[in-house]
């Protein structure tokens, strides 16, 4: 401590470790991410002829980003949708999925921000505001959202007398008088940038979070609804219902999402994946039993061993009905690229009868399940 050079070496070393992790290590891990296809083939290769995301911003929008930065918008607005476990950003409708590092690789200034006095803007372009609405909001936010404390930016507009070609109407809460203004080039650039803010694509590492109010899942269903074959419709309905049970962690939900994640990939080392899992695609009997009583102890999924405890699914635990179990199992057997036969409520009822008398909190072990069930060729 008494020699300044040794002392300096010591305090730079402690700083250096953090530098190694956050700059060098993090840089090696995700410093060279590049745009990617929404989904990869099973072997990890990129399908031919598909768009790569994120898309680059238009030149106009890129300049708008500079203006957004210069005006200090970032002080109050974040541009990041947090992970489902870390906040209710998706539920609030701020995005269809959590933001990923890859979403930002093409941006010159990454403005994820750290304070939300205003709403998150990561997906502002998806909220279907017209350009005029955004201009009016920039000119005076309070004319559209009376309670807003976003400062007006009248300096971005030229107020003119009377209407002219290319002008737009704005109103002011101060005097209710309608004014005609020309947006400046900067105002147009900012609006172009705001409209370009959207993470409306999936990435191999993150798919959309399905939600009751969101339209994405329903769009897929709407397409399948067109197919007249009734088993197909039934399957779609089962998948839709199962999805809700899977993602819901409120009362009556399945709580599946908590461990197996929205991506169905689980958490490496802790919770096994469902996507492509030999257990999920295999014997239905075992799956139904696990869905009733849970599972504990060591289990091997796709050759990888996991050792954890899965309490009986449902909130409260073990409360899923036969119909719910059938739906959620059908969903996980047909989501994330899985494709296997559906599970019907009667199948579930049959299994429930066969294990009648089992203590409701007695979880299965993998060994127990593999000894008293036969493999199914599906």
């Amino acid at each position: 401590m008494n020699n300044i050079f040794k002392f300096a070496a010591g305090i730079f070393a402690t700083l250096g470790f953090a530098w190694l992790a956050f700059v060098v290590g993090a840089g090696m891990q995700f410093g060279d991410l590049s745009p990617e296809a929404e989904r990869l083939e099973d072997n990890g290769s990129r399908p031919e002829g598909v768009d790569l995301f994120p898309l680059a911003l238009s030149g106009m929008a890129q300049q708008g980003a500079e203006d957004y930065l210069a005006l200090g918008c970032m002080t109050c607005h974040t541009q990041q949708v947090r992970l489902v476990d870390s906040g209710f950003d998706v539920e609030r409708g701020w995005g269809e999925r959590p933001s990923m590092a890859r979403d930002y690789v093409l941006q010159d200034h990454v403005m994820i921000g750290n304070t939300r006095i205003g709403p998150d803007l990561a997906n502002l372009g998806l909220r279907e505001h017209s350009d005029v609405w955004l201009h009016q909001h920039l000119f005076e936010p309070q004319s559209l959202v009376p309670e807003s404390i976003c400062p007006p930016s009248p300096f971005l507009y030229d107020v003119i007398n009377g209407e002219a070609e290319g002008s737009m109407q704005v109103s002011s809460s101060e005097d209710d008088e309608v004014r005609h203004v020309f947006p400046s080039l900067r105002a147009n650039r900012i609006v172009a940038y705001l409209q370009a803010l959207k993470q409306n694509y999936e990435l191999p590492e993150m798919s959309f979070v399905e939600d009751d109010s969101e339209s994405v899942g329903n769009e897929v269903l709407a397409e399948t609804d067109v197919v007249p074959a009734s088993p197909r419709v039934l399957l779609a309905q089962q998948i839709d219902s199962g999805e809700k049970i899977y993602t819901n962690f409120g009362p009556g939900g399945g709580l599946c999402l908590t461990c197996h994640q929205a991506s169905g990939l689980g958490v490496p080392g802790a919770f096994p994946p469902l996507a492509g899992s030999d257990w999920v695609l295999g014997d239905k009997d075992r799956l139904i039993k696990i869905s009733m009583y849970g599972l504990t102890g060591e289990i091997e999924v796709n050759g990888v061993k996991y050792n954890n405890t899965m309490p009986p699914p449902g909130n409260p635990p073990g409360s899923l009905t036969d119909g719910q179990i059938a739906d959620v199992l059908t969903y996980i057997r047909n989501a994330w690229g899985n494709s296997a036969s559906p599970v019907s409520p009667s199948e579930v009822a049959a299994v429930r009868a066969s294990v009648k008398g089992r203590d409701s909190m007695q979880m299965w072990t993998a060994v127990e399940l593999s000894t008293n069930s036969k493999p199914e060729n599906d």
Binding site: I11, A70, H109, N114, F155
Partner: protein
């Protein structure tokens, strides 16, 4: 003879230290004005809305930079030079270079803030001042830091003590942090959210590795100096120092919880934040066990009262900070105005209060003039009250903000933000009180540094004698 050698040291720094303290004071007022403007704009969005150079976003950022680099930077230079000179029993040398570098630093910040207001902001936390001013700031900082190290190297006793470790570490960490961040953000700009990790890491480390150790070092110096007793359980100090050195650079990244970065980054930040309770406990034990042995003496000495307010604030709010780093809590508070609580608590309630203490302790020694007791007492009570009001408003307001933001059914503007508005109003009042308090502080230090030249003519000759002595 000891006294006279100390007087020689104090005299050697008279002009330089006065320069830094006086500039720090002006920046403090600038920051207070900007803080008021920002708070006023939050309560009334139409306030000065027509001026493009005064948007809320710009004013808020300019305020933080004026506060940290203007007030904080100048105050750090003054106290570093003086405390190191006193502990080394060596004179302050290279005064012309110090004045030159100090002028550069202040000019750099002036242009930097004007640049922000003119729309040339950078997107990096606490590096928002335009790119062009940073080389100037770095060079001037290096000159000052070098000359401070020269003082330290010419010390009479080779043995070093806690205040020296903390102050030297703070002195050396800032340029290291800056070079790392500058390299990763400007020379070889990182892609995507790697930028965010680096900018967040710099912005938070600046508080934890530049301002914090400096204030702790001053507290380690001034408490025994005024109390006349040794630091209680001093043997713990070295453990506390190395804990901060090794944990703080890791702990700051917990602010990225749930964000678009690999999960291990916020996770490791959280773990290290929890581990930070050790150095916090050490500093708290050292300071408060010493101070509470003779609390009457602390109360009687205004500098010490400021310092102990600062160390208590450090302890309490650092523990609060640990709680807010836990993912379950961060989920609620992460993007709320709790961030303002953290910033103001660290930079105001802790760092600035300790700086006020040392300035009141140091200025009479270097100028030979006392500051009026009434003014100091007024400054203490208004600061203490203003800070508590500000911090409570940001804390309670932040919790309200965070909890309501987590109710997806509540409309953003009409429910969430409307519920926080009353707290913005309280912070505005608090900033007025604090501004008044700081005005009194600055007027008084300026009066001591630049005495009224006519006072000696009008008054008796006694004061001018005191000046020249």
């Amino acid at each position: 003879m000891k006294d006279s050698s100390e007087k020689i040291i104090d005299k050697s720094g008279r002009i330089v230290l006065s320069f830094f303290v006086a500039s720090a004071g002006l920046w403090l007022l600038a920051a207070a004005l900007l803080a008021y403007l920002a708070a006023a704009k939050l309560t009334d969005p139409f306030f000065l809305a027509g001026y493009e150079f005064l948007t809320y976003g710009k004013v808020k950022i300019a305020q933080a930079n004026a506060f940290v680099y203007g007030w904080g930077g100048n105050a750090i230079f003054a106290t570093t030079l003086w405390v190191l000179a006193r502990l080394s029993q060596a004179e302050i040398r290279g005064r012309a270079y110090l004045l030159f570098a100090g002028t550069l630093w202040n000019l750099g910040i002036t242009f930097g803030l004007l640049g922000i207001l003119d729309g040339h902001m950078n997107a990096h936390e606490m590096l928002e001042m335009p790119t062009a001013v940073w080389p100037v700031l770095f060079i001037s900082y290096s000159i000052i830091a070098f000359l401070a190290l020269v003082i330290h190297r010419s010390r009479k006793h080779s043995e070093t003590i806690a205040p020296q470790w903390f102050i030297l570490a703070s002195l050396l960490w800032f340029p290291a942090l800056f070079l790392i961040a500058w390299n990763g953000l400007e020379f070889n700009p990182a892609r995507g959210t790697l930028q965010s990790v680096l900018s967040m890491w710099f912005g938070q480390s600046l508080i934890w590795l530049w301002l914090t150790p400096m204030a702790l070092g001053i507290a380690y110096y001034i408490i025994p100096a005024i109390m006349g007793t040794a630091i209680d359980k001093y043997y713990l100090a070295i453990f506390g120092f190395w804990c901060i050195a090794s944990l703080a650079p890791w702990s700051v990244v917990h602010h990225l919880e749930g964000g678009p970065v690999p999960i291990w980054i916020p996770a490791i930040g959280t773990v290290m934040s929890i581990a930070m309770i050790f150095p916090i406990a050490v500093a708290s034990t050292n300071f408060h066990a010493t101070a509470f042995k003779n609390i009457a003496k602390v109360w009687d000495s205004l500098p010490l009262r400021f310092v102990i307010f600062g160390t208590l604030s450090y302890t309490i709010s650092s523990y609060i900070g640990v709680i807010f780093s836990l993912p379950a809590v961060a989920k609620l508070t992460q993007f709320s105005i709790i961030n303002e609580f953290h910033f103001n608590q660290r930079v105001y309630g802790f760092f600035s209060m300790i700086i006020f203490g040392i300035v009141y302790h140091m200025l009479p020694k270097i100028t030979g003039r006392e500051i009026g007791k009434k003014a100091k007492t007024f400054h203490f009570w208004t600061s203490a009250f203003g800070v508590m009001m500000l911090l409570l408003a940001f804390l309670i307001g932040g919790l309200t903000h965070g909890v309501l933001a987590q109710q997806p059914s509540l409309d953003w503007a009409s429910s969430v933000i409307s519920s926080v508005k009353p707290y913005f109003l309280i912070t505005k009042i608090a900033f007025v009180i604090l501004g008044l308090s700081q005005l009194v502080f600055v007027i008084n230090i300026w009066k001591v540094i630049f005495p009224n030249p006519f006072a000696s003519l009008l008054d008796s000759s006694s004061e001018s004698e005191g000046k020249s002595a």
